[in-house]
Symmetry: C2
Subunit: 289 residues, 2 copies
């Protein structure tokens, strides 16, 4: 609407990305702040928004777990994160009080899924999952234009893939499930096994096949459970050359031509690149009331 | 509405269940017909509806795979089923022509999920998956009151569970994926391994633990990918004494307390028992336009 100035926060465990713009299609200013303790980080963010001129709405896509149930008294909070100081942080409430504007709030991955969905919707895509493969593994889901929350929000990193034949001995790094998807295929899991990031390992290193297989199992699971049309693979690990293509090829093998939506299921890299999350946060701002 | 007489078909590979009633809450007549070739089966069904007095709307929950995309020219058809004679059968079109009434059409498991969702919604449940464990394994999904279709419809039976330590040698019976969930835990898979149905095997037979583990993995996957609140376990195999309780207990173990909706995730038996599918078909009729 005229006079609108949207503010957006992509709240990560390492950094906060902030942006402002008149619509989700246009970012007019942007900054990254290190994630320190909540008081310092949120105050620094609010000061930056002040300096941009007043924002009229704010959207926040946050690391989790979060409470994003509008009917909950705890809505807008980061809940039981292991990140020191951040458990039970009322991040949305802080900005509602401090900026006095409506705030939209969701997971970082649902925000990214929203933005990628909008980018793909012009081709008739109606359902999309966004998987991030980085320090952690998480997923967001948009069906018919709406982010899906269920009873809280998805935690796709904690499904249990089958162990790859070449990866039988590694215990996995997840403190809860040992060898769940995050325990096997996240950045820390790759480092723990091979002492390097995936992009530092030679192209013929078996790590590429192993990691692609685990992520492809997640894609197959989403295709089978949801008949979702696209799975977008983001995050730092996904920038490894050739990885998304390997995941796509392996997920086709896993489907074996059976799934009824067969050729319409697709695995792809983020169209918005690093801007998926912050663009989704601007969309959350635009929808805030 | 006044004067409404809903008709419903739960179309299975072995039998067709037909019912009529003034609303989804009241079945006034019901019959089961064997599934023969399409011409004979559909004609017999239409004659039974004629004999009940004219129906004003019809709902069909069908075995699949089906085309349930309202925007598709193939809507209302069973697609590439291996069941002899039924591939490409225009089941909804047949009744639209023959009865001259609006027809609602979905998968049998989405119909069952709709009915179970309605039964659970009074407790505030907003998302529910229905898994049927029988001759095949399939699943339906209702989120915020709406069945989910994605690019076609879910095929939850074809996810790939981890092999149980006591079940390493069985090849699995799925012609597409060998040891997917359906290949390992369906009725035919149980018979192929142990020469009996699960309910015929003694309560301390390891089959109970093995099958419960596989289905629990599917429940965990649905909790993690969708944060779905309830997973209802129906179908013939699920009637085995104690099985649903074993599945529920194992799915709690698999979650390890991590999922953010933790205590609100629940595995349960169908509240509507054998009536879930046909009640859902009546709901499809009530919504047909």
């Amino acid at each position: 609407m005229p006079g609108e100035m949207l503010g957006a926060i992509e709240a990560g465990g390492t950094k906060f990305v902030l942006a402002v713009g008149p619509s989700p299609d246009m970012i007019t200013a942007r900054i990254e702040l290190p994630t320190l303790d909540p008081a310092a980080t949120l105050a620094a963010a609010a000061e930056w928004f002040d300096a941009q001129g007043p924002v009229t709405r704010l959207g926040i896509g946050s690391f989790g777990p979060v409470d994003c149930d509008p009917a909950s008294v705890g809505w807008g909070r980061i809940t039981n994160t292991p990140k020191a100081g951040w458990a039970d942080c009322d991040i949305a409430g802080y900005f509602i009080d401090r900026l006095g504007v409506p705030v939209g709030f969701d997971t970082d991955v649902n925000a990214a899924a929203l933005a990628e969905y909008r980018a793909a919707a012009g081709e008739g895509c109606r359902s999309l999952a966004y998987l991030t493969i980085g320090t952690g593994i998480g997923g967001g889901l948009v069906l018919d234009g709406r982010p899906v929350h269920g009873v809280a929000h998805p935690e796709m990193g904690h499904i249990h893939p089958r162990r790859h034949p070449l990866d039988q001995d590694f215990a996995g790094v997840c403190p809860h499930h040992s060898d769940c998807l995050e325990g096997l295929a996240s950045g820390p899991a790759i480092h723990a096994r091979w002492g390097a990031s995936l992009s530092q390992l030679a192209g013929d290193h078996p790590a590429h096949t192993i990691i692609a297989d685990y992520v492809a199992q997640a894609c197959h699971t989403l295709f089978a459970c949801l008949a979702v049309e696209r799975v977008v693979i983001g995050g730092g690990v996904a920038k490894t050359s050739g990885l998304v293509e390997r995941i796509a090829a392996r997920s086709v093998e896993l489907g074996a031509g059976y799934l009824p939506g067969t050729t319409r299921h697709r695995v792809e890299a983020p169209r918005l690149g690093r801007d998926a999350g912050i663009t989704g946060a601007l969309m959350l701002a635009a929808a805030a009331a």
